[in-house]
Amino acid sequence: MTEQNGGPKTSRRKFLTSALIAGGSAAAAPFARAASPDPAITEIQPWNQELGWGVDAKPYGMPSQYESHVVRRNVEWLTASTESSVNFTPLHELDGIITPNGLCFERHHAGAVEIDPSKHRLMIHGLVEKPLVFTMEELMQFPRINRIYFLECAANTGMEWKGAQLNGCQFSHGMIHNVMYTGIPLKFLLEQAGVKPNGKWLLAEGADSSGMTRSIPMFKALDDCMVAFKMNGEALRVEQGYPLRLIVPGWEGNMWVKWLRRLEVGDEPWHHREETSKYTDLMADGRARRFTWVMDAKSVITNPSPQAPIITGPGPVVLTGVAWSGHGKIKRVDVTLDGGKNWHKARLSGPSLSKSMHRFYFEFEWDGRPLLLQSRAIDETGYVQPTKDELRKIRGVNSIYHNNGIQTWYVNEQGIAENVEIS
């Protein structure tokens, strides 16, 4: 990759950064003056005077009441019932790379079921030497590992194929979360039963009333899949498959079967509903791709975005977003402020892990003129996130799934952002 770091905006940013480091010399940033003293300072606040709540007042801690708007949201018209539906992670309210458990988007096919772990079993059978059944307690006796992975629904951004539709990255990109899982390497579990040489496929099945099933090729099962029981350190949330879920790193979320109860080894795929009528990508010629498992590299600017406009007016702006790739690590994220005429390398911050979200920042001094913001991710295979039009050229607009095209936000003079498409 060539190092092209030029452009007037970038140099302004550099200037700004150095000014901040120098303690903000008066010449660089003329400070505002207050007309009168700030009551937030001059008045004694109640929290400065009274007692707060004691320990155990909230045995399971929840966010501040001032954060109560930070919630998952549903797009009601998308589905016929909330039990077979999806809601969306509020990406524009988050930072870093870990999605808090209560904000991980939900996708259920027959509602979130609460399973009594003492009545949960995992069965491994089919083309194995010895079919086995495990209780949760027995699974806890296995060696376990901790890994951070993104889970993206294949339909994330699926509503945008025909054009800009949903005004907010929560809705356009929120079918994703990034979580640290604790669980058992699937390969080791399968080894307990002994996969026969003709066992080339694995059927994973959930215990809920949708009986969710997906066929997974054995090469993936033996590579990096896990059977997880913890997320971000605590038990899986009910809506994420408590007490047991399959982890299929880098591959579409539908395969990460929740409430996992059965693994059947077979010689051929099962071609069940979720891999035929759904999660196949209808192309412009009327034929459809099947088994489009991997989630290609993708990124989105989360701030500013339609739900998170620039409310501070001209001045320093922290542009941030997330990037991820099912093929491995994100190597670089580029950002443009002018709709793709000129690009700048963003700064990746925090852990850079394979098949995990990456956080990027691009700090700049906004002059108050309209912006056309885009980000593009480049992963370690050299894949560069394409534009939506480039994808449409190959796939048409009816494939629903795997829309990883570049997202554009238009920011007007007031700092208000909107989901748009540009020439």
């Binding site: 990759m1 060539t2 092209q4 708007h69 009601e76 018209w77 998308l78 589905t79 019932s81 039990e83 027959a110 069965m123 059978h125 086995l132 060696p143 590992i145 054009g163 800009a164 949903l166 005004n167 809705f171 390969k187 080791f188 080894e191 307990q192 009986g211 099933t213 059965r262 059947e264 071609h271 069940h272 035929t276 009528s277 209808l282 010629d285 009327g286 034929r287 459809a288 791709r289 099947r290 088994f291 991997v294 339609p306 998170a308 406009p309 620039i310 409310i311 007016g313 005429k341 108050g368 056309l372 560069v384 238009y410 007031q414 700092g415 208000i416 909107e418 748009v420 540009i422 020439s423």
Partner: protein, 453 residues
């Protein structure tokens, strides 16, 4: 610090394991005994026992506990894996145990019994792999479908509201709005049998007999014009059924078609000329209302206008910038119309209501209740007890319900109890496919719950 230490120490030897690290920390802070406590944690040196003794615990139990630890450590699980993990944990590894893969058999779990496998292994794959014996006719299927499926999928699989369309759509796969049905899109018929059997009817899965599944599957072939009306489907002719779009699928080819194109050197400067906005989400206007986002936009607009005024030399025109769309939309935020629950009868037993809420889980795939409840597959249930039968406007009731409505029947507790225990027996022709609650206690709880709204 010393106080908390004594609490732990006095807490008997059970705490020896759990509290070991805590003790270690505390003792280190007290000074001088760091070495001893570290050995204590490792559980091998006699000094550990001394420490426990001084901590006023029974020495014998303490020794036993320490020995258990030692025994446990002597037998590492999956030693080979452990070795592998050491190799994997290079300096560049992202995870300390990268490459960790234990091996060998732990002897955990037990062999699955044939009956257990049979109970769960219900999957059917092309063309009839795993298919149980049975049969069903189009005629039987039509009846069952009308009773159990049509409320969502329509009498002929045409789909109600946003529920899936199951029939028709042939020739639409290249159209603007493709209709993907069993007849137009699904590649394999076995998928239909498998899915209906494992997951339908929605909210009452696993309730159909094999013959009923055969019959419904036969009917679905019929409404897709794939068999005649006298067709009978069974385990012998099943594999001969091929769906029209079987050859319409091919393996993911992104690695050939897309990756070579998209693995490229990205342009950084002067990449394009004029840029125009060609499409705006605002125009489509289908985004759910987000009050906070709207407030923020208003704030931004206000601030921008203020700054414009402030900086207004001669250069800035007096007119504020055009107000942004989100701000001008005066769509009043649906001011969180959460009706407080205290309107409900004060006498309600909270435990019973709670139980009723659980029972209601069986109903909620079709019925909504509570503030803002709307009709779903079934009518909303606010104020049900005491309201006239068949009285929710806009809901298409069955003939049976309409007749009761016309007769002036009211949903009192007794009639509701009778109905919910045996819907089809109580109201002939009701569209409700629910089989009924068995337990009187469930009925009582459900009524208590519904009366809250």
């Amino acid at each position: 610090m010393s106080k908390s230490l004594s609490v732990f120490a006095a807490g008997a030897t059970v705490l020896v394991l759990g509290g070991a690290y805590y003790l270690a920390d505390s003792l280190v802070e007290k000074g001088g005994t760091a070495d001893q406590t570290v050995t204590f944690v490792a559980g091998t040196e006699p000094a550990a026992e001394e420490k426990v003794e001084t901590a006023a615990a029974g020495p014998e139990t303490a020794v036993a506990a320490v020995q258990t630890v030692a025994a446990g450590m002597a037998k590492p699980v999956a030693a080979e894996g452990g070795a592998a993990s050491l190799e994997g944990a290079g300096g560049d590894a992202d995870y300390a145990d990268e490459g960790f893969m234990p091996s060998g058999k732990l002897g955990l779990g037990r062999e699955a019994l044939p009956e257990e496998i049979a109970a769960w292994n219900i999957d059917v794959a092309p063309y009839d792999k795993g298919l149980p014996p049975g049969q069903g006719s189009v005629a039987d299927g039509e009846e069952i479908f009308a009773e159990k499926c049509a409320m969502c999928h329509g009498d002929f699989g045409e789909g109600v509201d946003r529920w899936p369309v199951l029939a028709g759509g042939q020739g639409t796969l290249t159209a603007d709005r493709p209709v993907k049905t069993i007849g137009s899109y699904w590649p394999y018929f076995s998928t239909v049998w498998d899915y209906v059997h494992r997951a339908m009817p929605f909210g009452n899965a696993r309730s159909l007999t094999n013959d009923e599944v055969y019959a419904i599957a036969a009917y679905l072939l019929y409404v897709n014009d794939l068999v005649d009306e006298d067709f009978v489907l069974n385990q012998d002719n099943f594999a001969s059924i091929h769906l029209p779009n079987e050859n319409g699928f091919y393996m993911d080819d992104r690695d050939k078609v897309e990756y070579p194109v998209f693995r490229r050197e990205p342009c950084m400067t002067n990449c394009k000329g004029e840029v125009k906005i060609v499409m705006r989400a605002r125009v489509v206007d289908v985004t759910p209302e987000d009050a906070v986002a709207r407030k923020r936009a208003e704030e931004a607009a206000k601030k921008a206008a203020m700054k414009a005024r402030e900086g207004a030399g001669a250069a800035t025109p007096a007119a504020a910038p055009a107000p942004a769309a989100p701000a001008e939309e005066s769509k009043a935020a649906p001011a969180a119309e959460t009706k407080p629950m205290e309107t409900a009868s004060a006498a309600a037993d909270p435990a019973l209501v709670k139980k009723g809420e659980k029972v209601f889980k069986k109903c909620k795939s079709c019925h909504a209740v509570g503030p803002g409840a709307k009709n779903k597959v079934g009518p909303e249930l606010n104020g049900l007890i005491g309201r006239p039968v068949g009285s929710i406007e806009g809901f298409r009731y069955s003939k049976g319900m309409k007749a009761l409505h016309d007769a002036g029947k009211v949903w009192d507790e007794a009639f509701f109890a009778e109905f919910i225990k045996n819907p089809k027996g109580t109201v002939k022709g009701t569209k409700m496919s629910f089989r009924g609650l068995k337990k009187d206690s469930d009925v009582e709880a459900l009524i208590a719950y519904l009366k809250q709204f």
